[in-house]
């Protein structure tokens, strides 16, 4: 079964645990890697010869380098700019949502506190993104708020 490579950048230990447990219970073939901040994220992505992730989940508020800053850097780096990025945040402010999408996020997820809700959201996001990834669909207009 082909594994879907997912990368999570989140500085909160509990959120990361919550996220990885939800992913595990989805029954999809997912390989999850996580980093704890934006600097680690970009360092990892720029490591030569790594397998680039199919989908990156990026916490909006991280110390040192935040989600938007990472997003800008990803979208302006030639060999990274095609990557699918989901901004993952506790904020549901219209402004944060629009700002994220305008800066190139494909997906904006409002972090739920309910575990089952998180599973449902992750399932929808991962399977939808996978359709773009494995078909002829251009990701240029791929946008989802959930």
């Amino acid at each position: 079964m082909k594994k879907i490579n997912i990368l999570l950048a989140d500085d909160d230990d509990d959120d990361r645990l919550f996220f990885s447990e939800a992913i595990e219970q989805l029954g999809l073939s997912v390989s999850l890697k996580w980093v704890v901040n934006g600097v680690e994220l970009l360092d990892y992505l720029k490591t030569p010869d790594i397998q680039l992730p199919e989908l990156i989940f990026l916490d909006l508020n991280m110390p040192i380098k935040g989600g938007i800053e990472c997003l800008i850097e990803i979208r302006s780096t030639e060999y990274l700019k095609h990557l699918s990025v989901a901004i993952y945040s506790t904020s549901s402010a219209e402004q944060d949502i629009e700002e994220s999408l305008i800066h190139g996020a494909n997906i904006y997820i409002r972090k739920p506190s309910d575990f089952d809700e998180l599973k449902a959201i992750l399932n929808k996001v991962i399977t939808t993104n996978h359709q773009y990834h494995s078909s002829h669909l251009s990701k240029e207009n791929f946008m989802m708020v959930i």
Binding site: E54, L137, M143
Partner: protein, 188 residues
């Protein structure tokens, strides 16, 4: 000077394949001399190139019938969604006609071998086309709904919101602002 060669075909084939896979940079796992599992999905173009390159060495990739069918279903859905002549027909009946298979069989094969249902895939393709038409500024929402065989603008808007989480107006506004920003970054 005469050279007499002896060679082992399976080692030969394996080396050639490994070289080609390394060129692409995809990770893989060898099951036996005729089966390799690619551990990531390859974009169509890359896969086709791999196929051609291997064929030069006389090595053929045998796609399983299921995979061929899935690809055919996806290509046919795309064709139907983009062809204005089909606007008044149900996609399920056109698909069934074109592939000469029952819709039930097509749908179950699709969901068994992909992570999505055929119904969702069709919706996704239609909404993607709707997005392109919205961004082109050449069509009203009514015309778009009509061309994509939605029963009403309301139906299109609902599906758009269901799939993207955005209204078509917000979508348009966000893409425009994003493009402005990208232009600024690229030209600044």
């Amino acid at each position: 000077m005469k050279l007499v060669l002896g060679y082992q075909v399976d080692i030969l084939a394996r080396k050639v394949v490994e070289k080609e896979l390394m060129k692409i940079g995809v990770s893989y796992k060898y099951h036996n001399s005729s089966q390799i599992e690619l551990l990531e999905e390859l974009p169509c173009a890359v896969f086709e190139k791999l196929k051609r390159n291997l064929e030069e060495f006389g090595i053929h990739i045998r796609e399983t019938q299921q995979e061929q069918l899935i690809q055919k279903i996806k290509d046919t859905v795309s064709e139907i969604v983009h062809d204005d002549n089909y606007y008044s027909f149900k996609i399920s009946s056109i698909l069934s006609d074109k592939l000469n298979l029952s819709y039930g069989y097509i749908a179950s094969t699709f969901s068994d071998h992909t992570l999505n249902t055929l119904e969702n895939y069709i919706m996704l393709q239609k909404i993607e086309r709707a997005k392109v038409m919205i961004l082109s500024d050449e069509y009203s929402l009514t015309e778009i709904a009509y061309k994509l065989n939605y029963s009403s603008v309301g139906h299109l808007s609902n599906q758009f919101k269901k799939i993207t989480g955005l209204t078509s107006t917000s979508f348009l506004r966000i893409i425009r602002r994003r493009n402005l920003l990208y232009n600024k970054i690229n030209n600044g």
